[in-house]
């Protein structure tokens, strides 16, 4: 049983790492098309390593917008990683010096895979396998995409823009369909998050709607303290 959950955590992690890592091609291409150098694109993937923030900065450079505002927008998108860290801190047991390397891996994909696992051991395995496979693929594909921009077609042609949302849906699915007393609350949190984010989209800068999805969760927690 233990080896089964562990190997399924490894499979999940590798699948997400490789599939989402391919989007690094899109980032490398978008960054260089936007006017970033190959080195700047690679530095972002190596050190920022959080896709949404990286795309946001490239988008502002492309549009010729204010770089200060662009950097601020990218950081705003990164705030959700702080919220993930609150949940992962105990799960990963990353205290003391160990948290410095582990922190770099706290992003959407690793959190999603970790939380989809049935126990803590599998969650840790899922986190680290996703982190390592995604880090390697993301950086390799960023370089490929940045260097080969002229030869890489628009990623939308291959339907790669549907892969991101499909990934998160596939990861959340088991938790939202489980026969578990907690499922109703999770569904309420998910539905509330979707509603608030879509309603806010026209009115606030990109990045903020996803953060506002935390507001209905706050309401759920305050209403039903446990």
């Amino acid at each position: 049983m233990e080896t089964t959950t562990r190997s399924s955590a490894i499979r999940d992690g590798l699948g997400v790492g490789l599939a989402v890592g391919l989007s690094g091609l899109a980032f490398g291409a978008a960054a260089v098309t936007a006017g970033l150098s190959v080195a700047q694109a690679c530095v972002l993937s190596l050190f920022a390593f959080t896709g949404a923030s990286q795309f946001a900065l490239a988008g502002v450079v492309a549009g010729g917008g204010s770089l200060v505002a662009g950097a601020a927008g990218a950081l705003l998108l990164g705030v959700r990683n702080s919220l993930y860290g609150l949940r992962l801190a105990d799960l990963l047991g990353a205290r003391g010096w160990r948290r410095f390397p582990v922190a770099q891996g706290v992003i959407d994909e690793t959190t999603a895979v970790a939380l989809a696992q049935p126990d803590e051991e599998a969650a840790r395995t899922g986190f680290f396998v996703t982190f390592v496979s995604l880090y390697l693929t993301w950086n390799a594909t960023t370089l490929l995409g940045a260097v080969g921009t002229s030869r890489v077609a628009d990623p939308a042609v291959f339907g790669l823009d549907a892969v991101g949302p499909a990934t998160f849906l596939a990861i959340l699915w088991p938790r939202l369909t489980a026969k578990d007393p907690e499922t109703r609350t999770l569904r309420a949190a998910a539905a509330g998050g979707v509603a608030v984010a879509l309603a806010a989209t026209p009115f606030v800068p990109p990045g903020v709607p996803v953060l506002l999805a935390a507001v209905p969760v706050l309401a759920l927690v305050l209403r039903r303290p446990r």
Partner: protein, 103 residues
């Protein structure tokens, strides 16, 4: 601000944000309200991310039919209990084919 300065600022800031959550003090992590909040918040954020990545383009809401159909294909694959990579392949393939068909 030069592009390099913006790149370095984003790199340092994004890392600091990741570290901040992991480094929250014990008394914050042990608070029952915080535990309840942090258990639910990733689900809400990831669900919001699905919606925004599918239906938002910058600040505009848009219905991109190929992408929406791709997500529909993913739902169908999940209902049929398809393995993870097949779910992603179905989403990408349906989206790509509908774009190819000029929708």
């Amino acid at each position: 601000m030069s592009v390099w300065q913006a790149v370095v600022a984003v790199c340092l800031g994004c890392y600091a944000l990741k570290l901040a959550g992991l480094s929250a003090p014990r008394r914050v992590l042990d608070h029952p309200g915080v535990q309840r909040f942090s258990a639910l918040v990733p689900v809400a954020l990831l669900a919001a991310l699905i919606a925004v990545q599918t239906f938002a383009h910058g600040q505009a809401l848009e219905l991109d039919w190929p992408r929406t159909a791709g997500l529909g294909a993913a739902v169908l694959a999940l209902l049929l209990r398809a393995p993870f990579l097949l779910v992603l392949a179905a989403a990408a393939a349906v989206t790509a084919l509908l774009r190819l068909a000029g929708l």
